[in-house]
């Protein structure tokens, strides 16, 4: 695409950098609550990129589900497990190995992505925003089975989480 540097590209890179830096914050922060806050920033960056990609629906879902529900859940769990009392024990012993492995993964991924010729449209003008109605139609026709499965899955997760977390009469 030879469109030159456009405003969207600049915004994209800003968002990308914010997102990646916050992500690094998530995996390196010495305090769990900070990590959770970095996580929120990272999620917001991802949502922004969704907006740039013109899929408002997914951006909305991202903000609603991750931005509110998941983050609140995580903060609750953090409070319940009082993890702040153990700030020294956040990294495992095999840390260098983990870093090396993930750097290897990164190199392989980037190498593969760069070497691959992806099918792309001739110009960005060809990219049409996907409407909400089209998504809805698709979910309830082609993807009806996955949709039902997700429904069952959510109820299982709910049921299981309640059952496991709820106090038992033998609890002390």
């Amino acid at each position: 695409m030879e469109d030159g540097v456009t405003a969207t590209q600049v915004v994209f890179w800003i968002l990308a950098v914010v997102m990646l830096i916050s992500a690094i914050g998530v995996v390196t922060a010495g305090n769990i609550v900070y990590a959770a806050l970095f996580f929120i920033a990272s999620l917001a960056g991802v949502a922004g990129i969704y907006l740039i990609l013109t899929v408002e629906f997914i951006a909305l879902v991202q903000l609603l589900i991750y931005g509110s529900a998941v983050v609140i859940l995580i903060l609750f769990a953090l409070m319940l497990t009082r993890a702040r009392e153990r700030p020294q024990a956040l990294f495992g012993r095999s840390r260098p190995l983990g870093i090396a492995a993930s750097l290897g993964l990164l190199a392989a991924l980037i190498g593969g992505i760069v070497a691959t010729t992806w099918t792309t449209p001739e110009s960005s003008a060809a990219i049409q925003p996907v409407g909400l109605q089209a998504i809805g139609d698709a979910i309830f026709t082609i993807w009806i089975v996955p949709f039902i499965i997700v429904g069952v899955l959510l109820s299982i997760a709910l049921d299981g989480a309640i059952m496991l977390a709820s106090p038992d009469e033998d609890d002390n």
Binding site: I113, V150, V152
Partner: protein
């Protein structure tokens, strides 16, 4: 789009059954819980029979995402059978040692539903969601003994690594989607999406069979996608080096769930593996066959060597099941893009070994559950003198372990013979040789268990003979008879399997026919 809902009635019935079981058990708290177990088992048995009768001659497709062919029906019945025996074996155990029976039986049914959907999926999104349905049920079931720290811990590790592996697999799926532009496996259905809009057609271009993608340019992305999917699947089937969760989850889980996990979980993941790799990825076989081969070899070697050091029976069975995964992977390696009939043999051999392994493994665990019900212990040395205290259990365990070691009379011999044969025939002599040697090593640790039962006298305070509850003993008899039958005369079963794997290679057969025709 016309959706033929009658094709997936069994799945709906299963979901309904799970809800009914949970609701009923919550409603009638004063009824002895074992009746819910037996009712669930009976329902599973009836559904299995009805499914087998009603769908055997179906060869159809539900909205392009679920295939209802012989393969699906075979695995539906197979999974229902696994769940049936698991529930029968679990009733006494659950009654004495677990709470929340409603969720226990309900989740077993849900997990079975996930397996059934997984075997039927011929689209990556559906397959992934089915796999998660299955995995979520198992995460909860493994941690079901909620007051037992072992159970919590097994569940936690299983869940975290499971989520990690899902992420790896999903990334691989996204790359495959990026390369091929679709998530459908293959395009058998004539009134489905337009021609060429499925993974198999797109990948066929690599084999020079014509198709949509640029063969050279897309190769690196495709390769990474395949590796990541294999790695993700490797976690689910617990292939080395993605096996770390297995011993912990197996040891932490309540025993019936360990049985269910080792039998059903593995069988479902392999049904998925097989359908994905033979329907969608077969044209690119040359790209992936080598790393699946290495995976198989490493899994066989490490699984067996680690098993040699175990002292806990559940951990031993965990490593034993890892080594069995290696043998099963040999069946995947024997798939061959250029030779459809040979691929079909390999797939049939894999399914045959899978059924033999699962039958055997459930037999082992059913016997161990009966033992545990009495003693509450599960270390290998605790089995001392079992041959004196309960000769039938000892016999069942010994027979099943010999079968796992691939000894004649029992299922393992015939099924391993055929699956290694498939690998040898595809030019993987080294892999077959490793497999044979590995199964020789495995004999040693199985013999160590058998030795405990037969060589020593009973120890400890409880040395009396004991009885096994009737349903459990009956199930055990059926399972051991099945192990013997598969070992002595697998032909009828193999015929059924062979007719069921035909559908997996329809597109490949059509493609190679068109190439020959040109």
């Amino acid at each position: 789009m016309d959706l033929e809902y009658q094709l997936i009635i069994p799945e709906f019935v299963m979901a309904g059954l799970a809800v009914v079981v949970i609701a009923a058990a919550l409603m009638f708290r004063n009824v002895d819980q074992k009746w819910f177990g037996y009712a669930t088992a009976a329902a599973l048995g009836i559904i299995a029979l009805a499914t087998a009768i009603a769908y055997w001659n179906t060869n159809d497709d539900f909205g392009n995402v679920l295939a209802v062919d012989h393969f699906t029906v075979l695995f539906r019945v197979f999974f229902l059978g696994i769940a049936f025996f698991t529930v029968i074996a679990a009733v006494q155990f659950a009654g004495e040692r677990l709470k929340n029976h409603a969720e226990f039986y309900g989740l077993i049914v849900f997990a079975t539903l996930g397996m059934m959907l997984l075997a039927a999926s011929r689209e990556l999104l559906t397959a992934y969601l089915s796999l998660e349905l299955l995995s979520f049920s198992f995460y909860i079931l493994v941690g079901f003994n909620k007051l037992n720290p072992f159970s919590n811990e097994g569940s936690l590790k299983y869940m975290l690594l499971g989520a990690f592996s899902s992420a790896l697999m999903l990334y691989g799926i996204s790359l495959i989607y990026g390369v091929t532009g679709t998530t459908l496996y293959s395009g058998i259905e004539p009134d489905g999406v337009a021609a060429g809009r499925n993974i198999a057609d797109q990948l066929a271009s690599f084999a020079g069979l014509g198709g949509g993608v640029d063969p050279e340019g897309a190769r690196p992305g495709l390769l990474i996608g395949l590796v990541l999917i294999t790695a993700g699947l490797g976690f689910k089937i617990s292939a080395v080096p993605f096996h770390q969760w297995t011993p912990d989850a197996y040891q932490g889980a309540p025993l019936p769930i360990t049985a269910f996990l080792s039998a059903g979980g593995k069988a479902a993941a392999f049904a998925f593996f097989l359908r994905l790799f033979s329907e969608a990825f077969l044209p690119a076989a040359n790209e992936w066959v080598w790393f699946v081969g290495i995976l198989a070899a490493v899994t066989m070697i490490v699984g067996n060597l680690m098993a040699l050091q175990q002292t806990n029976f559940k951990r031993l069975m965990a490593y034993s099941s890892i080594s069995q995964v290696g043998y099963l992977l040999v069946g995947i390696v024997a798939l061959n893009a250029a030779n459809v009939s040979q691929s079909q043999d390999a797939a049939s051999a894999l399914v045959l070994h899978l059924i033999g392994y699962v039958t055997t493994n459930i037999a082992v665990f059913a016997a161990i559950i009966a033992f545990y019900n009495r003693t509450g212990r599960d270390d290998i040395v605790d089995l001392r003198g079992l041959a004196e205290r309960q000769p039938f259990l000892a016999f069942a365990i010994a027979a099943a372990l010999f079968s796992l070691a691939g000894m004649p009379l029992f299922a393992g011999f015939a099924t391993k013979f055929i699956i290694f044969q498939a690998a040898f025939n595809n030019g993987f002599l080294w892999l077959g040789a490793i497999g044979v040697t590995a199964s020789f090593v495995s004999l040693y640790y199985y013999l160590m268990v058998i030795k405990q039962m037969y060589l020593y006298e009973p120890e400890g305070s409880d040395r009396a003979r004991f009885h096994v509850s009737r349903p459990l003993a009956g199930a055990l008899v059926v399972l051991v008879a099945g192990v013997l039958f598969i070992g002595l005369y697998p032909t009828p079963l193999f015929d059924v399997i062979h007719s069921s794997t035909e559908g997996l290679f329809e597109q490949a057969a059509a493609l190679s026919a068109s190439v020959v025709g040109q």
